[in-house]
Amino acid sequence: MDAYFYIILVLGLVSSVICLSAGILKKAPNDTTILSVAAVELSLLVYLVGSIVRVAGGEQIAGEPWEFWGYLLTALLLPVGAVYWAILERTRWSNFVLAAVGVTALVMAARMNQIWY
């Protein structure tokens, strides 16, 4: 597990806890929950840029490269899709959808780490 994974782990957990709490408190998605998901997206973008730099620098991905990039690109789409949905219907339930993003992202980041090393 590398630093990218731990960044996504922390941000993903924090984001999920914030969104879950907001959902339990019957709040609609607000700046706090949406920005926490945006932070997860940012951490994934950092992972993307970092991975491109590493591959360009000659580093080899141990597993299937296309599997790694598939995971990464799918993970990048999740926060965008969830926020889009949360804006379409601003009820407490959309916060639970946002909460699912952080956990899913950290599971996918763990899998990406396994593929890389």
């Binding site: 609609a28 607000n30 969830a82 949905w85 379409l88 009820t91 339930w93 959309s94 959808v97």
Partner: protein, 160 residues
């Protein structure tokens, strides 16, 4: 701010043939349903990717398990789409997909426990979905509860 739109102004356009005007109950894509659809969508994507990967790279190793993976992926796709759609027909499709999913996870889960030789642990449903935090087992149960609570107004619609 708790903007809570009523079911009519969500922006979905129900099939006019299937939905009499003004039946809010004929949509299942609001409130908790959105969470359900989101989780189904994640499973549809991951199951499709996994099955596609297995079939393209190592199909001959365990054809039965990988075809089951593909079948599970199709079931999740159908469940996701049908839950998102309004109308009585889509309701029936949802019920069918969720029931197939429940039977699938129970049967494949049981087979993978009792006959682990022929059922290597490589599908979403193996070991009752343990590799996915048992969400595959929980999802159809929650799905059926949600579908029951949002069943179309007349009771005869529940037949089939």
């Amino acid at each position: 701010m708790t903007a809570k739109p009523s079911h009519e102004d969500i922006g979905t356009t129900p099939d006019p043939a299937a939905v009499p005007a003004g039946t809010a109950r004929d949509t299942r894509n609001t409130g908790p349903g959105r969470l359900l659809i989101a989780v189904y969508a994640v499973f549809a994507i991951s199951a499709t990717a996994r099955a596609g990967y297995q079939i393209l790279t190592k199909f001959s190793e365990a054809p039965v398990a990988y075809l089951l993976s593909a079948f599970a992926a199709v079931v999740y796709l159908v469940a996701t789409v049908s839950l998102a759609k309004a109308g009585r027909t889509w309701f029936k499709v949802s019920v069918a997909a969720v029931l197939v999913e429940l039977v699938g996870v129970l049967v494949v889960g049981a087979l993978s426990v009792f006959d682990s030789v022929n059922f290597p642990h490589e599908t979403v449903w193996s070991l009752f979905g343990r590799g996915y935090a048992f969400i595959p087992l929980l999802l159809p149960i929650l799905g059926l509860i949600w579908l029951y609570r949002r069943r179309p107004a007349p009771k005869r619609a529940l037949e089939s």
